[in-house]
Amino acid sequence: MKLQVNGKVRELDVEPDMPLLWALRDELDEKGTKFGCGIAQCGACTVLLNGEPVRSCSYPVSAASGQKVVTIEGLANKDKLHPVQQAWIDHQVPQCGYCQGGQILAAVALLKRKPKPTDQDIDAAMTNICRCGTYARVRKAIHAVAAKGVRV
């Protein structure tokens, strides 16, 4: 089957019910997307599917075939970081960093849908779990991107 990842069409010879995360990490060697809970609860495995966040650990690869998959590796425009990635650096958001790829992609999707989110909007949309507890800085960085008014 064919899978479009970060703008490149990749050929895969896998079972259709293989989780998208497995296909990305083990078949395509894209290791930026992380395995967390494996049951779509924590969000470490978040990728964007046609711009919408999905939890790739519980998403069959066949359902993603023919659609646009963006992982954390593909968010920057070559060397130019995405504004959300830049805000994550500016506000020193990550601690260990394991969940942050998912956090960033979820934030991108939120800001696309709602360019000026309130704290409540952020809390409702950002259901990704961070064991280090970086939530306060996640919120701050999202507000910072919104305040700049850049299109994400």
Binding site: K31, G32, T71, V93, P94
Partner: protein
Amino acid sequence: MSSTDQGVRQPDRRLFLKTSATAAAGLSLGFYLPGRSDANNAPRLNAWVEVRPDETVVIRYARAEMGQGSMTSAPMLVAEELDADWARVRVEYATAHENLASKRAYGDMAAVGSRTIRQSQDYLRKAGATARHLLVAAAAQQWGVSAAECTTAKGRVMHAASKRSITYGKLAQAAARIEPPKEVALKDPKNWTLVGKPIARVDIPDIVTGRVRYG
């Protein structure tokens, strides 16, 4: 524990070690010193600092980075005493292989109990100060002046009386041939310019682009 882009950086380092072994590259204070035969005498050696001809200062980090930030703060201690230009510092992990090859120059390489800074600050500062000493000695030799008259800042050695200044990268090769001192003076903390300041973590750019590896 995380590590960054091993696949990309290791060949670079191997190439560097190969070239430094033929005395063609920069200052590698450690067990790969060009022309040195006392590689087994690990306690006297400094495995932490490399000054490359392009002015990049590579500082090794020999503990785990798990979000506590010591991959940034421990190299800051080296850079402080070295008077390196922090913007040109690149932090790289020391490997277990290097540790064994150097009779454990990097110690137990453990990050535990908030001990990284407390346990390693003395030898990290000495590593930076020793490297600085060699670079100053190399400049003084080149200029025919006393090392005591030279000062350092931001990756340069300066000699105020003759208004001369030279970068670390240009001195590295000569500095690597000088015998390191057994004792070296450390800065008075009141003169610190880097340590104690809020500095952005060196590993965050790799986190936000998905390049950091965990394992």
